[in-house]
Each structure stands twice: as structure tokens, then as C-alpha cells.
């Protein structure tokens, strides 16, 4: 048993299956040497890889030289495109390309300048270059397979596996084509040099130049060249193979030369075999030894329609129109121009398309040469196609499924192994264009596979997106949880309480609105920030008002008072002052009616007292004392003198001067009030008490108090029924007292409202007077005077009860600002800041009083 190499050396050939013997018409074009046509004016160079793997290096209007690179790119299978001649880029646009579809492809349109000037060429010898440099040079020369498939040659010259055998394909089995034939005859030495480069790169054990026996001249020329070549003897060998179509097919040729079949879905390199075209070998030689890129190739222009058939060097990018017109192409009606051979070529729809690297033949046959398309008839299942098929397929089955569009079934009959050689169509007695069906089926399968791939990608992306959304959602939730936990941890003392306080406020308001009894919340006691304090103060004030208005039980008040104890800042004081002022007014409003309930007055006192104690400020104390005193006075006015004694100890506790003064004033007032109820002498009695007080202000305040007392007394006198109600209230328990108070209040309000319009004006004036002591005193004096007059006026006419109340109420309303005035005048001695605040408090108090009055008016209406 001979080894493969021995058999190769011996020239043993194997049979390839199938195949046909179409009539040979190579003589039409192979009689003359390869000629050159005059330079065309316009070249169309497709740059299909631009945008995918490459970028353009030229722009419209650029001057280019012959051989200049038009694109630049990376990527293993990227091949550069070169300018076929010197000239100018006149357009870069979509142009129909040399393809069965004639679809437009991005192309550089180059206008030749006629110089045909080369760019700088760098020739090398093999010794100068490393293998990688050689491969790069081949790559950047843009060399692609010249046999028709135009696969980048540098890829095939740099295989992953060891190459034992290189086959140089000079078979050229298509009936009309003779470009390789002529190339071998005319450029055998150059081809051998190219083979030398391939040998240098791959270092195979054997290089077989395969030539069909219908080209004896070419075989002889190559044989001679091999003899002349410097390659090691015995490595290169010319093998003549019998003529049969399609022996030139890569897999068929391998089978003929070696007897090995390339498995389906594999490439020959996996068997250690590489097949290169003779044209490629020539181009490699040009690239290495001359530095010329692949910008022209031998094209067979043949067919009976062509006047001068033959082989021509055509620059790549020459349009087929130009090429044909240069060889006296006579266009007949509906005549096709076929690119490639008659067996595998395709008819062009448009002749303004360029010659490409794989375009080896342009066939312009007459009607005699190729029969016009005939209608296909039904498949008779003769099986001729199966005999002819070089790939050992079952063409009729493929046809069956392809026609039924059952492409997956066609695929199961190994459709992908069809080389589209056309043997089956050639032998078909029913004139079925079988290859057309296979091409359709193949493209459908390809599209299907592509869609499936896209669907998989889409699914992956969809799932990735879902995963991402899910992750984002989880992350968001985790973050929110974390933030919540953090918030919870950080708001321990302050925020939580603030929130609670706010909630309490809301609750308190609601309670106020719905029921009269409000119970301010205990949480206020822990409030320390300003706002909270203010809120608490307002809360308190409201609560007090509510209690005063409705006589809430004492316990509730104590709660609010404890809340006050913690209040230590200024605003709180102001608020407290405001609250006090309100309380006073409310108390006064109650007292106006003279149906003053002891309970309510006492509770207000109880409420304000502790708060005043807690407040360490002088002013606050003073104000508190004043408030206390007044409240007591009011209470006493209705009851007895005993309360005055009760008031004294509380005031004694206050160690401050002013406090004492205020207390004295209060005492005096209380006495006066008490006396007013009994006799008119109280005014005289009150005077000595004021003597004891050394301060002028105290006197003023006392005067004011006196005036008030009088007025109140007068009011009591006028309305006997109210006086009668008061004692009764003392006796009865809370409920009844409340009822009575409510009745009294309502009455008082009515009375007050009768005179309200005028009162508000009078009230506003004194508030301005608060500014300094003098004015205050003047105002106080005025007030006093008024009060006296009123008192005098009311005294004689006791019977005029109907008219009097209005006057009384007027006077009481006048007293209100006076009270504020006294407070303000007291505070004026302290600090300007405090004075301001006091004033503010007074103003607020006044405003509140007005509001109360108005509200009462509205209620009445």
C-alpha cells in the first residue's frame, strides 16, 4: 500500500462522483495572449465593508493614485480596497454592484486622470520579511481568492493546523473560461514565484498544480516553470487531471487528487490541505516582489456577442459596460450578460456594475450558444440529477422539499452541501432549474437561521432586562427599608416627639371642634425645640380659652401647667403672655356678664400660676402676678373679700419689687372690686393702698384697676338678675355652674355686641399709647376719668337698666386696653427687648379680644 505522498508523486488520481461533460468552448477566448484594454474613464470601486469593519480614507474630491488604499480597517478577515488607477474621487455613493440582485452598495466612483500613476510601491524579497510581515503584505495588498469565491487569501495562508498539501487550482472546468489557462501559459514563472511564497509560508510536503487535460499548453508551461524554479525538487508537481465538470470545485479537486472527501461542514485545512487558485498565486507574487496591491485581474470576455473575445487585464472597478464596449460587444435584444461561466454564473440585471476580484469571466452568449429559458416541466423522478450530483446529494428530493417550501426537510437532505454547480439542472430532462430552487431554499434557511439567532439574542436580552428590572426593584426596596430603619433610629428623641406633638395638636383641635372639653396632651412636657414650644403655648392658650369658656375641670389645667414648666425660652414667654392676655380677656368677658363662675376664674389662676413660677424672667412673673391678681379680683368681685387674703400669700411669695407692685395693684383692685359691690366708698379705701406703693406706675395701675372695679360694680348693679345668679353658682356643683356660666356668657356677649363697633376703635387707640410711660399714664388717667364718669352716670339712674348695660359694656371694653397698658408699662422698666415683646403680646391680646367680640357677634346673628 502506497502512502499518500507516494501516490501523489506517482500522479495517482481518484474518481470524484457525478459530474458532466459540457461542450468545451475555451478556444473562443484562449487563442491570444492576455491583452490590455484602453484605460476607462470611470471606475466603480465597491467598499462594502465600510461601516462594518472599515472606514474610508478618502473623501469626495480627493486625488488618488493607482494602488492607493481607499479603506482602512481592522478585523481578521478585513481586506483593504485600492484605487485601480490615478484620478479623483468624484462620488462616494450607493451604486449597483456585481451581484445577482444588483443591489446598491456603497462605492467610490473614481474618475481617471489618464496618468495611471502608481503610488509608492515597496518591493521585497522573501528573505527580508518574516512570515507575519508576508501575511500582512498579502492582506494589505487586498488579495482574495481569484477563483470566484473571493475569500481573503491571508486567512487561508495562516491556518490553525499543519498543512501537508497545497493544491494550486488551475483546473478551470467551466466550459467558457480561459483566464487561468492564459495566465498559466503567459505568466508561469510568476505563478511559480507566488507558489514559492505559499511554500515559504505553509511549508507543505507537496504542492500539486492541478490542470485539466484540456489545457495541455498550460500544463506544459507550468511544467517548464517548475523545472526552472528554485523550489526544492520533488515538492512541486504538475498533475494533469481528466476533464470533467466540476473538477475545479475545491472539494471535488481534493477528492480527485487525494481520494479524501472533505466532511460535510468542514474545511479542507482540517485535512491538512489548502487549495489556492493560480490567479491568487500570481497576485501574491505581485504583492510581495513588486509591492503591487490587487487592483487588476485577468477576465475572460467571451461569447459570440463579443467582437474580440479573449482574456484581458481589467482593473478591478472597471464597469462591465466599459469592458464590453472596448471589445465590440453587440447588444442584442433581451440578451443576457453572464458573470462567471455558463454553469455557475448569474445573469446581470444592470451592466453598469464593476468587475470584482472574483469576476473571472464575462459571457455574452448569442441565442445559439445558450438556449433561452424553457418552461419547466414536472419532475419525472428519472434520477439523472442524482447521478450527476458531485456532492452525492439527492437533487430530486431537495427539489421536492424546496418547491414545497419545506426548507427544514430540504436541510435534512444536506442542502447545505450543495455547491450549486448546476450539473443537475444541466442533465434534467424536464428543464427544471433545480439550482434556482436550491438557492432560494438556501437563502430561506439562512434567513431562518439568522432569525432564530436573533430570536435567541432577543430572548437573552429580554430575560436580562427582566432580571435587571427585578434587581433594580429589589435594590430600591432594600434601600427604602434601610432608609426607614435609619430614620427610625435617628428620630428617637426629637422628630418622633415633634410628630407626636403635631398629632396631639391635630387631635386637640378636633376635640375642640367637637366637644368643649379639651385635654391637652402630656407629651408636650418633653418638647424642647422652639417651634414645639410655640405650638405648645398656642395649644395651652387655646386649651385655656376652652376651659374658661366651658369650665373644664381643674385636673386638665394642671396638666397644661406642668407642660409650661419646661418652657424656658423667649418665644414661649411671648406665647405665655399671649395666652395670659387671652385668659384675662376671656375672664373679663365673663366678668362683664357678672355671672362669673368661681370655678372658671380659679382654674385660670391655677393655670397661670405655675407657669409664671416656672418662667424665671421678671417680666413673666410680673405679668403672671398681674394676671393672677386680676383673676382673683374678678372672682372676688362676685364673692367675698376672703379671696383677697388668699391672693396676698401668693403675691408675697414673689420676691421681686415689681411683682410686689403688681401684687399691690392687684390687691387694690381686688379690694376695690369687692367694695364696689357693696358700697361706693371703696374708691377712697383703695387710695391708701396705693399710697403704700411707692411707685408711680403702681399708682397708675391702681387707678386703672380702680376704674375697672367701679365699672364692674356698676355693671353688677344694673343687672340684678345676674348678681343673683352668681351666688347660686357658688353653691351648686360644676355642671350647674357651667350651665349658668354659659347662660351668663351668652347674655354678656349680647350686651357686648351691642356696642362692639365703637369699642374696637377705642381699643385700637390705647395700644399705640403703650410706647412710653407718660402716654400710658395719660391714657390711664383718661380711662380712669371715663370710668368715673360712667360710674357716676350709672349710679344715680339705677332704674335705667335698659339703657345702662350698653354704657357698662362700653366701659369694660375700654378697660381691656388699659389692662394691656398696665402690663406694658410695667414691663417698660425692664429691657427694651422685653418691652417690645410685651407690646407684641398686648397687641396680640387686643386683636384676640376683637376677634372674640366679632365671633360673638357672628354667633348672635
Amino acid at each position: 500500500m502506497l502512502t499518500l505522498l507516494e501516490q501523489l508523486d506517482k500522479g495517482t488520481l481518484w474518481q470524484s462522483p457525478g459530474g458532466i461533460h459540457p461542450p468545451q468552448l475555451k478556444t473562443l477566448s484562449n487563442q491570444s495572449t492576455i491583452a490590455r484594454l484602453p484605460l476607462a474613464q470611470r471606475f466603480v470601486v465597491p467598499v462594502p465593508l465600510v461601516g462594518e469593519q472599515a472606514i474610508l480614507t478618502v473623501a469626495v474630491g480627493d486625488q488618488v493614485l493607482k494602488g492607493q488604499m481607499l479603506t482602512e480597517g481592522t478585523g481578521f478577515i478585513y481586506l483593504p480596497v485600492h484605487s485601480p488607477t490615478s484620478g479623483r474621487v468624484i462620488a462616494i455613493e450607493q451604486h449597483a454592484t456585481n451581484h445577482p440582485s444588483s443591489l446598491p452598495t456603497l462605492s467610490c466612483i473614481i474618475e481617471a486622470d489618464g496618468q495611471d500613476a502608481w503610488c509608492e510601491l515597496i518591493p521585497h524579497s522573501l528573505e527580508q520579511l518574516s512570515k507575519n510581515q508576508i501575511l500582512d503584505k498579502i492582506k494589505y495588498a487586498g488579495i482574495a481568492g481569484m477563483g470566484g469565491a473571493a475569500f481573503p487569501s491571508h486567512v487561508k495562508l495562516n491556518p490553525a493546523s499543519e498543512i501537508d498539501l497545497v493544491i494550486i487550482n488551475g483546473v478551470e472546468c467551466e466550459p467558457y473560461i480561459s483566464s487561468d489557462d492564459r495566465l498559466m501559459r503567459d505568466y508561469s514563472d510568476e505563478i511559480l514565484k507566488g507558489i514559492g511564497v505559499i511554500h515559504h509560508l505553509l511549508n507543505p510536503q507537496r504542492i500539486i498544480i492541478a490542470i485539466e487535460d484540456n489545457k495541455p499548453e498550460a500544463a506544459k508551461a507550468m511544467q517548464d516553470a517548475v523545472q526552472r524554479s528554485t523550489l526544492p525538487t520533488g515538492v512541486v508537481r504538475v498533475t494533469v487531471i481528466p476533464t470533467k465538470y466540476p473538477s475545479g470545485g475545491e472539494k471535488q479537486l481534493i477528492q480527485i487528487i487525494t481520494g479524501k472527501e472533505v466532511p460535510s461542514g468542514h474545511i479542507p485545512a482540517q485535512l491538512g490541505i489548502v487549495v489556492h487558485n493560480v490567479g491568487t498565486a500570481y497576485a501574491i507574487q505581485e504583492a510581495i516582489y513588486q509591492g503591487k496591491p490587487l487592483i487588476e485581474r485577468v477576465v475572460t470576455l467571451t461569447g459570440e456577442q463579443i467582437g474580440q473575445p479573449g482574456n484581458y487585464w481589467l482593473p478591478i472597478g472597471t464597469t462591465i459596460t466599459d469592458a464590453l464596449s472596448a471589445v465590440n460587444f453587440s447588444q442584442s435584444n433581451a440578451q443576457k450578460v453572464i458573470v462567471g461561466g455558463p454553469m455557475m454564473g448569474y445573469a446581470l440585471a444592470d451592466l453598469d456594475v464593476p468587475i470584482l476580484k472574483g469576476t473571472n469571466c464575462l459571457l455574452a452568449p448569442s441565442h445559439n450558444e445558450i438556449a433561452p429559458d424553457v418552461d419547466e416541466k414536472a419532475c419525472i423522478r428519472c434520477g439523472e440529477c442524482a447521478i450527476a450530483c458531485p456532492a452525492l446529494l439527492l437533487p430530486q428530493q431537495l427539489f421536492w422539499h424546496a418547491k414545497a417550501e419545506e426548507y427544514d426537510k430540504a436541510a435534512s437532505f444536506n442542502l447545505k452541501d450543495c455547491i450549486e454547480c448546476g450539473c443537475c439542472s444541466y442533465v434534467c430532462p424536464s428543464d427544471i432549474p433545480l439550482v434556482e430552487y436550491y438557492r432560494v431554499a438556501k437563502s430561506a434557511l439562512k434567513i431562518e437561521a439568522e432569525e432564530k439567532h436573533q430570536a435567541e439574542q432577543a430572548k437573552i436580552r429580554f430575560e436580562a432586562r427582566l432580571q435587571r428590572l427585578e434587581d433594580e426593584k429589589n435594590a430600591r426596596e432594600a434601600k427604602a427599608k434601610e432608609a426607614a430603619a435609619k430614620r427610625q433610629a435617628s428620630m428617637k428623641s426629637t422628630d418622633k416627639d415633634a410628630v407626636a406633638a403635631a398629632m396631639a395638636r391635630i387631635a386637640a383641635k378636633k376635640a375642640q371642634a367637637t366637644s368643649a372639653t379639651t385635654t391637652p396632651e402630656a407629651p408636650q412636657s418633653t418638647v424642647d425645640p422652639k417651634k414645639a414650644a410655640i405650638n405648645a403655648a398656642i395649644e395651652r392658650a387655646k386649651a385655656k380659652k376652652a376651659t374658661q369658656a366651658n369650665t373644664v375641670s381643674r385636673d386638665d389645667e394642671l396638666v397644661t401647667s406642668t407642660a409650661d414648666e419646661n418652657v424656658d425660652d423667649k418665644q414661649a414667654k411671648i406665647a405665655a403672655a399671649v395666652a395670659r392676655a387671652k385668659a384675662k380677656k376671656a375672664a373679663q368677658a365673663n366678668s362683664e356678664s357678672t355671672a362669673q363662675t368661681p370655678n372658671s376664674v380659679e382654674t385660670t389662676v391655677a393655670g397661670t400660676e405655675p407657669s409664671a413660677d416656672a418662667v424665671d424672667d421678671k417680666k413673666a412673673r410680673v405679668a403672671a402676678a398681674v394676671a393672677k391678681a386680676k383673676a382673683k379680683k374678678l372672682a372676688q368681685a362676685n364673692q367675698t373679700d376672703d379671696t383677697v387674703i388668699e391672693a396676698e400669700p401668693t403675691t408675697d411669695a414673689v420676691d421681686d419689687k415689681k411683682a410686689r407692685v403688681a401684687a399691690a395693684v392687684a390687691k387694690a383692685k381686688a379690694k376695690k372690686l369687692a367694695q364696689a359691690n357693696q358700697t361706693d366708698d371703696t374708691v377712697i379705701e383703695a387710695e391708701p393702698t396705693t399710697d403704700a406703693v411707692d411707685d408711680k406706675k403702681a399708682r397708675v395701675a391702681a387707678a386703672v384697676a380702680k376704674a375697672k372695679a367701679k365699672k364692674l360694680a356698676q355693671a353688677n348693679q344694673t343687672d340684678d338678675t345676674v348678681i343673683e345668679a352668681a351666688p347660686s353658682v357658688d353653691v351648686v356643683d360644676d355642671k350647674k355652674a357651667r350651665v349658668a356660666a354659659a347662660v351668663a356668657k351668652a347674655k354678656a356677649k349680647k350686651l357686648a355686641q351691642a356696642n362692639q363697633t365703637d369699642d374696637t376703635v377705642i381699643e385700637a387707640a390705647p395700644s399705640v399709647d403703650v410706647v412710653d410711660d407718660k402716654k400710658a399714664r395719660v391714657a390711664a388717667a383718661v380711662a380712669k376719668a371715663k370710668a368715673k364718669k360712667l360710674a357716676q352716670a350709672s349710679q344715680p339712674d339705677i332704674d335705667e337698666a335698659a339703657s345702662q348695660p350698653t354704657v357698662d359694656v362700653e366701659s369694660t371694653v375700654n378697660i381691656k386696653p388699659d389692662v394691656a397698658l398696665t402690663d406694658a408699662s410695667d414691663s417698660a422698666d425692664l429691657s427694651p427687648e422685653q418691652v417690645k415683646k410685651a407690646k407684641v403680646a398686648a397687641a396680640v391680646a387686643k386683636a384676640k379680644a376683637k376677634q372674640l367680640a366679632k365671633r360673638a357677634e357672628q354667633e348672635e346673628q
Partner: protein, 192 residues
Amino acid sequence: MTSIFIAVAVLSILALVFGVILGFASKKFKVEGNPVIDQVEALLPQTQCGQCGYPGCRPYAEAIANGDHINKCPPGGTATMEKIAELMGVEQEPLNAEAQSSVKKVAYIREDECIGCTKCIQACPVDAILGAGKLMHTVIAKDCTGCDLCVEPCPVDCIDMIPVETTLQNWDWKLNSIPVKVIQPEQEEQTC
């Protein structure tokens, strides 16, 4: 008499042995989930367009496995329906009326009109739209499934569904059955 007992005993032993084998096999070779769902899903085009009324191809595959109609997938077209019919062993059903158009389309954003609202990005089931807030968006045509879902949310209506361009790579030889004739535009002569 003894032969009866032997027979009963032998059959009982056999029953026991086979029972154990079957029990073991059912545990050992237990199939998780419904394999039909995966098979149906593999046939669906994975556009995730929701035209079937389900939120994605997988839910529709599940629905088909549970006996839903097989004609609800417009992107898959008749071919997909036929495959599913074959797989499920059910009668073929004509596709819904609106599902006839089989031309594959991809979304295209008219970029100078895009206001950068990101709504289309949120709508895209396959993350094929690229962009950021207040910046121009664009569609990665390669990844676009042509599901139409981005068209609706666009507030400025700047998304077009354009048919996929025919290139040399995806050109269908079927078109060649009608001889290709290139009609040159008039202007081309003037420019050349």
C-alpha cells in the same frame, strides 16, 4: 394447588420488583416543568411584542401548552403557526386578520425630533434603544425585534417602523424568479 400459590407468589414478587423500579425511575428521571413549553417557546420569534395578549413569548408558550389558540403570533407568521400546530398536534388556524404583514421591520428614531424622554427605552422589551434623559435616543437596529412597543409611548411621534433594508447578505434568491431589472434614476446620468 401449590402451583397456584407459586404463581401468585411469583406475580407478587414481580409486581413488587417492577413497582420498586418504576418508583425509582419516577424519582430519578423526573422532568421538571413542562417540556412542551420550552419547545413552543423555541418556535416563537421572541419579539416579546405582546401582540398575542401575553406579556412576552414565554407566557404565550405556556398558554399554548395549556390549550390556547396558536394563531396569535403575528411576528411569527404562518410558518410559526404551522410549526406549533405540528408540534402540538392541533389543527392549523389562519392568523388573525391584522397579523398578515410579514415584512420585518425595525424601529427608527428621527433623531433630530427626539426630546430624550426615555419612554421608548422603558418600553423596549429587549433593551435595543440607546439613550439617556434629555439626550437623543437611537435604536440598535441589529437588536430591534420590530415589536412596535416603542412607537406608542413616544410623546413626539418620532419613531418610525421601517422595513429592514435588503442587503447582499439577506437578499432572497426568490426575488430572482422574476428577472431583476434595475431602473436607473434620471438624475444619475447627470451626476456622472
